[in-house]
Symmetry: C2
Subunit: 607 residues, 2 copies
C-alpha cells in the first residue's frame, strides 16, 4: 500500500484528508479480481439483504452463506481452498460497502498471500495450521494491523501507522485466520451508531433508514449482510452488542481482561474505570465459541499481563456444583425500571419466555431489578438509580479523554487557526453524549460547558472525582454479587436495547448494554428470528404502549416518542434480538447456557 501522505499535520484540510481515505478505500476495492457490479442507487430497496443473491455467482453465494463451523471444516479438509473462500468474502464485502458504507479498506494483497501460504501448507503437510485454517475474519479499524493507518475514526489521527499487529490478530493468524477487510466506527467510539468525518455514516442492511448500531457498526452491517461470518468488535458500553442486535447476528462481549486488547487504539487508552473488551460478531453461536476458545488456548495472559489467567473451560465452571445436573435457572428482566423496551422487543421476550417455561431443561424466575428487594435499596439514591449516576460520571471521564486528545481538543488548536476550518461534530457528537438526556447536574454542567476547544471542561473532573466514582462502582458491583449469590440464577435474559435498530441519530439510551459493562458481566446478543413487520408479529398487540402511557423517566419519554412517531412501518425489516448475561468470568457457562436456551425455545443457533 502507498504511504499515507494526506494528513492535517502536513497541512491538508479535514475534507482533503477524508477524501483521500475514501479514495484509498476505493482503490483497495477496485483491485479485486471480478468485483461485483456497481449498483445504481435507484435499484436498491430499503431492505438490501436480498441483493447478494441477485448479484453474486452461485459459488460465491454458496461459500458466503456458510457459517464459521462449515467453512472451517471444508477448509481443513481441503474441499475448498483458502483462496477461493477469501475471494468470495472479499467480493461480498465489496457489495456490503456499496449497500451500507461499512468498509474502511479491503486487504486483498495480504489476504491472498496468506491464503496461498495456507493452501500450500495443507497441500504439503495434509494438515491445517490450526482451528481457524483459512477462516475469513473482518476487523474493526481501530484494532491495529501492521503497516496500516490506525486513525480510530479521527481525522486528526490519520497518518498514524500501526507498528505491529494487535496481539489478538497475531494469535488468530497463528490459528489460521485470514484478515481481509477493515470496518467503520463512529467518531470517538462512544456512540451506539456509526458515523465519522472520514467515511460518513454506516447504515443497516435490513432497513437503510436505520442505524447499523455502534461503535462496531461496520462489523454489524458487514456480518448482517454476510460480507463476513466472523468479525472482531470492541465494547465498552454496548459497542459489540448494539450492532449485533441491530443486524440480527450473534455478538459477544466477554468478561473484561480475558481477551487481549494490546494494539488497539482509542482515546480512552490507559483508563481502568470501565475496561473495554474485544469480542466476536458472528452468524453462528459456534463461530463465537470457536473464536474465544482459540484465543484463550493460546494463553494470552503470558504476553499481555493485564489479562487474568483464566483458561478456557470445556466442562466444569465456576459456581457450578460438581456432578450436579439440574435445570438452567434463568432470571428474566422485562424492563430495567428506566426505559421500557419498544413493543417488538417486549413481544419477542415474552414469546421466548413462554417457550422456555414449557421446557424441562429451563427454570424461569423474574429478576426484579428495582423494587421489592431490600438489597437493592443501596443502589437507589436521590431518586436516581445509582448505576446511572456512576456510569454517567465514569463515561464522562472517557469523554474528557476524547476531547483532550481528539480533533476537538488542544491538538486541534495546534493544527489550524481559523474557526471556519474546525472539523464538525457528527450529529451524535453534537449531542455530546448519548446521556445528554441524563439525570444529574453533572451532565448539565457538562453540556453547558462543552464547546470545541473549550479547555474549561477538562478541569471539572479531577482525579479524586474519578476515584470517588470508582468506589461507588465497586460498592455497586459488590451489592450485585450479593444479589446474585442470593438468587442463584445461572444467567439473566433481557432486552438487548430499548428497541430494535434506531432511526439514524436517535440511539441515545445505553442502559440495557452498559449495565453489564459497569458490572463486568459477560453478555451475548442473539437473534430471535423475528423481524419487525413480519408475520410473526400477530398476537403481539398486548405489548403495545397503552393510549394513556406515562413515561417513567425522561429517557423513557424520549424512547416512547421514537416508537410513537414511526411504529411498525418505521422499523420494518429490523431484526429483533435479545441478550443473555452471565456472571463475571463465567463466559463459557454463558455460551453453553445460550445453546441450551435456544434449543429449548426452538430457536436456531445460526442466522
Amino acid at each position: 500500500m502507498p504511504p499515507v501522505t494526506v494528513t492535517t499535520a502536513s497541512g491538508a484540510t479535514w475534507q482533503e484528508v477524508a477524501a483521500d481515505r475514501q479514495r484509498h478505500r476505493d482503490v483497495t476495492i477496485a483491485s479485486l479480481e471480478s468485483p461485483p457490479p456497481k449498483l445504481l442507487t435507484n435499484d436498491v430497496p430499503l431492505n438490501t439483504t436480498g441483493i447478494p443473491k441477485s448479484v453474486l455467482t452461485a459459488e460465491d453465494l454458496d461459500i458466503t452463506e456458510r457459517n464459521v463451523e462449515d467453512l472451517a471444516s471444508k477448509l481443513a479438509s481441503g474441499e475448498w481452498s483458502a483462496k477461493k473462500v477469501i475471494q468470495a468474502f472479499m467480493r461480498r464485502a465489496c457489495l456490503a460497502q456499496q449497500l451500507t458504507n461499512c468498509v474502511t479498506e479491503l486487504l486483498p494483497e495480504e489476504a491472498l498471500k496468506r491464503a496461498a501460504e495456507l493452501d500450500d501448507h495443507l497441500a504439503s503437510t495434509g494438515k491445517p495450521v490450526g482451528p481457524l485454517h483459512g477462516v475469513p475474519i473482518s476487523v474493526k479499524e481501530h484494532i491495529g494491523i501492521k503497516g496500516h493507518d490506525l486513525n480510530g475514526g479521527f481525522v486528526s489521527w490519520v497518518g498514524r501507522v500501526a507498528e505491529e499487529d494487535a496481539l489478538i490478530l497475531q494469535i488468530l493468524r497463528d490459528a489460521g485466520a485470514v484478515f481481509y477487510v477493515r470496518t467503520t466506527q463512529p467518531q470517538t467510539l462512544m456512540h451506539l451508531e456509526t458515523s465519522n468525518n472520514l467515511y460518513g455514516t454506516t447504515v443497516n442492511p435490513h432497513n437503510t433508514t436505520l442505524t447499523a448500531g455502534g461503535s462496531s457498526g461496520g462489523e454489524g452491517a458487514l456480518v448482517g449482510i454476510r460480507g463476513s461470518v466472523l468479525g472482531i468488535g470492541t465494547d465498552i458500553g454496548g459497542s459489540i452488542r448494539s450492532p449485533a442486535a441491530n443486524n440480527g447476528v450473534f455478538g459477544f462481549k466477554p468478561t473484561a481482561l480475558r481477551l487481549p486488547v494490546g494494539g488497539w487504539t482509542a482515546t480512552m487508552a490507559g483508563s481502568d474505570h470501565i475496561v473495554g473488551t474485544i469480542g466476536p460478531l458472528s452468524t453462528s453461536l459456534e463461530g463465537v465459541s470457536l473464536f474465544v476458545r482459540t484465543i484463550l488456548r493460546a494463553r494470552p495472559w503470558l504476553r499481555e499481563p493485564s489479562l487474568v489467567p483464566v483458561p478456557w473451560k470445556d466442562e466444569d465452571q465456576l459456581g457450578e456444583e460438581e456432578g450436579e445436573r439440574r435445570k438452567l435457572r434463568v432470571g428474566v428482566i422485562w424492563d430495567d425500571g428506566v426505559v421500557r423496551p419498544h413493543p417488538p422487543v417486549a413481544a419477542a421476550l415474552s414469546r421466548v419466555v413462554e417457550k422456555l417455561k414449557g421446557s424441562d431443561e429451563v427454570e424461569i424466575v423474574d429478576w426484579e431489578c428495582w423494587e421489592h428487594n431490600l438489597a437493592w435499596e443501596i443502589i437507589v439514591c436521590y431518586g436516581i438509580p445509582l448505576h446511572f449516576r456512576i456510569l454517567e460520571r465514569l463515561m464522562l471521564c472517557v469523554w474528557i479523554q476524547c476531547y483532550e486528545f481528539s480533533e476537538f481538543g488542544p491538538n486541534y488548536i495546534s493544527l489550524t487557526e481559523e474557526p471556519k476550518k474546525r472539523r464538525p461534530f457528527t450529529p451524535l457528537g453534537n449531542h455530546c453524549y448519548p446521556y445528554r438526556n441524563g439525570f444529574s447536574s453533572i451532565t448539565h454542567t457538562y453540556e453547558n460547558t462543552l464547546r470545541p476547544c473549550d479547555s474549561l471542561l477538562v478541569n471539572i473532573f479531577r482525579i479524586p472525582t474519578l476515584w470517588q466514582a470508582q468506589q461507588e462502582r465497586d460498592a455497586y458491583r459488590t451489592s450485585y454479587a450479593a444479589l446474585w449469590n442470593e438468587r442463584a440464577v445461572d444467567v439473566i435474559l433481557c432486552p438487548a436495547g430499548p428497541g430494535v435498530a434506531p432511526k439514524l441519530g436517535t440511539a441515545r439510551y445505553w442502559g440495557y448494554t452498559s449495565q453489564w459493562n459497569l458490572l463486568n458481566y459477560p453478555a451475548i446478543v442473539f437473534p430471535t428470528g423475528v423481524k419487525v413487520g413480519g408475520t410473526q408479529e400477530e398476537g403481539d398487540k398486548a405489548h403495545e404502549y397503552p393510549a394513556d402511557y406515562k413515561p417513567m423517566s425522561e429517557a423513557d419519554g424520549y424512547n416512547y416518542g421514537l416508537w410513537n412517531e414511526r411504529g411498525v412501518e418505521g422499523y420494518a425489516g429490523a431484526p429483533v434480538s435479545l441478550q443473555l448475561v452471565g456472571r463475571m468470568y463465567e463466559d463459557e457457562k454463558l455460551l453453553r447456557a445460550l445453546k441450551t436456551l435456544l434449543n429449548a425455545a426452538g430457536l436456531a443457533n445460526t442466522c
Copy 2:
C-alpha cells in the same frame, strides 16, 4: 468498648484526640488478666528481643515461641485451649507495646468471647471449626473491625466506626481465627516507616534506634518480637515486605486482586492504577501458606467481584509444564541499577547464592536488569529508568488523594481557622514523599507547591495525566512479560530493600519493593538468619563500599551516606532479609519455590 467522643469534628484539638486514643489503648491493655510488669525505660537495651524470656511465665513463653502450624495442631487436638493461647499472646503483645509502641488497641473482650466459643465447639463436637481453629491473628488498624474506630492513622478520621468486619476477617474468623490486637501504621500509609500524630513512632525490637518499617510497621514489630505469629498487613509499595524484612520475619505480598480488601480504609480508595494488596506477616513460611490457602478456598471472588477467580492451586501451576521435573531456575538481581544495597545485604545475597549453586535442585542465572539486553532498552528513556518515572507519577496521584481527604487538605480547613492549630507533618511527611530525591521535574514541581491547604497541587495532575501514566505502566508490564518469557526463570531472588532496617526518618528508597507492585508480581521476604554485627559477618569485607566509591544516582548517594555515617555499629542487631519474586498469579509456585530454596540454602523456614 465506650463510644468514641473525642474528635476534631466535635471541637477537640488534635492533641486532645491523640491523647484520648492513647488512653483508650492503655485501658484495653490494663483490662488484661495478669498483664506483664511495667518495664523501666532504663532497664531496656537497644535489642529488646531477649526481654520476653525474662518477664513472661514459662507457659506463656512456650505458647508464644510456637509457630502457626504447631499452634493450629495443638489447638485442633484440644491439647491447648483457645483461651490459654490467646491470653498468652495478648500478654506478649502488651509487652511488645511497651518495647516498640506497635499497638493501637487490644481486643480482650471479643477475643476471649470467641476463644470460649471455640473451646465449647471443640468440647461438644470433638472437631475444630476450621483450619485456623483458635489461631491468634493480629490486624493492622486500617482493616475495619465492626464497632471499632477506623482512623487509618489520621487524626481527622478518628470517630469513623466500621459498620462491619472487613471481608478477609469474616473469612478468617469462619476458619477459626481469633483477633486480639490492632497495630499501628504511618500517617497517609505511604511511608516505609511507622509514625503518626495519634500514636507516635513504632520502633524496631532488634534495635530501637531503627525503624520497624512501614506501613505495616506495627505488625512488623509485633511479629518481630513474637507478640504475634501471624498478622495481616497491606502493601502498595512495600508496606508488608519492608516491616517483615526489617524485623526478620516472613512477609508476603500476593498478586493484587487475589485476596479480598473489602472493608479496609485508605485515602487511595477507589484508585486502580497500582492496586494495593493485603497479605500475611508470619514467623513461619507455613503460616503464610496456611493464611493464603484458607482465604482462597473460601472463594472470596463470589463476594468481592473485583477479585480474580483463580483458586488456590496445590499442585499444577501456570507456566509449569505437566509432568516436568527440573531444577528451580532462579534469576538473581544483585542491584537494581539505581541504588546499591548496603554491605550486609550484598553479603547475605552472595552467601545464599553460593549455597544454591552447590544444590542439585536449583539453577542460578543472573537477571540483568538494565544493560546488555535489547528488550530492556524500551524502559530507559531520557536517561531515567522508566519504571521510576511511572511509579513517581502514579504514586504522586496517591499523594494527591491523601492531601485531598486527609488533615492536610480541604477537610482540615473546615475544622480549624488558626494556622497554629494545624496538625504537623510527621518527619517523613515533611519530606512529603520518599521519592523527594527523585528523578523528574514533576517531583520538583510537586515539592515546590506542596504546602498544607495549598489547593494548587490538586490541579496539577488531571485525569489524562493519570491515564497517560497508566498506558506507560501497561507498556512496561508487557515488556517485562516478554523478558520473562524469554529468560524462562521460575522466580527472581533479590534484595528486600537498599539495606537492613533504616535509622528512623531515613527510609526513602522504595525501589526494591515497589518495582513488584508496579509489575503486580507476588513477592515474599524471608530472613537469612544473619544479623548485623553477628559472627556470621566475618569474611564479608568484599562487600564493603570501596574507598573511592562513586554513587550511581542521587538516591544511591543518599543510601551510601546512610551506611558510611553509621556502619555496622549503627545497625547492630538488625536482621538481614532477602526477597523472592514470582510471576503474576503464580503465588503458590512462589511459596513452593521458597521452600525449595530455603532447604537448598540450608536456611530455616521459621524464625
